[in-house]
Assembly symmetry: C2
Homo-oligomer: 228 residues x 2
């Protein structure tokens, strides 16, 4: 994504930048647009590299090369490697949170709600780049309190609160038996997190059918299986 067809071809390109055809929308100045494009390319490249090598072992030269940009350009957008990492996490996570917040169409049973949510999670996180980001946060969190704080505030605490609300609704409606579950929404989420980590580490040893696993887990919580 954002691979932006153009500049990708190394900085070498003499820039056949005719823009003749009218390049569609040019909302901001052409210049600002290209700058934003570059920033995105850098973020994407950095994400790739950080996930693959971790913070300390990632070289800015590699990020620059992958982004098709000179190293100095990175410093036009970010103060240093560390703050780049922190901003990166924010940049990638914020839209996901926004999407999840706009989720619940209050229809059907609580189980349906949660199942929909799990489906989205499955599609959008487990086994994707974003899943790897989660693993990266787990990995680097202790060395980046700012990242851990941010992640807790924006993702974990909200997620826990949302899940708790759903659980309480489920209890009130009689869908969920175990009343103590509301005290530990982590239990509801745990298998999904495990699936994320499993895919990163052990997929090649023993592939995991995350979807099916989550279904079994929901059966456990909501009682007997609902007829599919």
């Amino acid at each position: 994504m954002t691979k932006s067809p153009t500049k990708a071809a190394t900085a070498k390109t003499p820039k056949p930048k005719p823009d003749a055809g009218g390049e569609a929308a040019v909302p901001v100045s052409n210049r600002a647009m290209r700058a934003a494009e570059r920033r995105d390319a850098i973020v994407e490249a950095a994400m790739e590299e950080f996930i693959a090598r971790g913070f300390a072992a990632t070289r800015l030269d590699d990020i620059a090369k992958r982004a098709g940009v000179a190293k100095g350009t990175i410093y036009l957008h970010f103060k240093d490697k560390e703050s780049m990492f922190e901003e990166l996490v924010r940049t990638v996570i914020v839209p996901v949170v926004a999407r999840l917040n706009a989720l619940p169409p209050p229809t059907g049973s609580v189980r349906d709600l949660i199942e929909t949510f799990a489906g989205n999670f499955l599609k959008e996180v487990i086994g994707t780049r974003r899943g790897d980001l989660v693993r990266l946060i787990v990995a680097e969190g202790p060395r980046f309190p700012a990242v851990a704080d941010f992640y807790y505030r924006e993702v974990v605490s909200r997620g826990i609160a949302g899940m708790r609300a759903l659980i309480e609704l489920g209890i009130a409606r009689g869908e969920i038996r175990e009343r103590d579950l509301a005290r530990y929404p982590q239990i509801l989420v745990a298998p999904a997190m495990i699936a994320v980590i499993w895919q990163s580490l052990f997929e090649r040893h023993a592939p995991l059918d995350a979807q099916d696993m989550l279904r079994v887990h929901l059966d456990l919580i909501f009682g007997e299986r609902r007829t599919t």
Copy 2:
């Protein structure tokens, strides 16, 4: 640190005198003994540093200093930084696995067995150095296939197999309703893993009563709470 004669300054063994006689059994030569001691000191120091900083950001100089040893000494025991890391993981994990293998005294209900197991896990892993090691493996696994392989082979696959056996026993005895659980022992273990990670990352934001959480989870699996 002042090279002076008593460089042994580390807590490790002032060892002012070899005292030939006393010391009951001195099976190996004094020399070999001290070498082994040093190796242990290095392993311990390396564990500390790797957990705190991750593989790439850890300096061998720091490990040496913490172990009270010169840098060159490390290379008498390990080929290089990478294989030191790998051996370290083995060294720390093997005894734990050994202990777990010698565990189940086949008494009581399946729930009792699992509860005992969870209690041990709580005491020995969650919130301890070993828990941090687990997080470290999650963090570095993708960059150290050898470590991930080892961990999968020695810990994960055995743990999953063991849990599956317990679950099947529980189903056979009618203690566990959800038959599909046997296909995903991960579900049984997930909250414990989450607890490990939570303690590492979010304890200061929101402390987690892991013991209580695991109890609730078992209630979920085994049906109504058993009278404590």
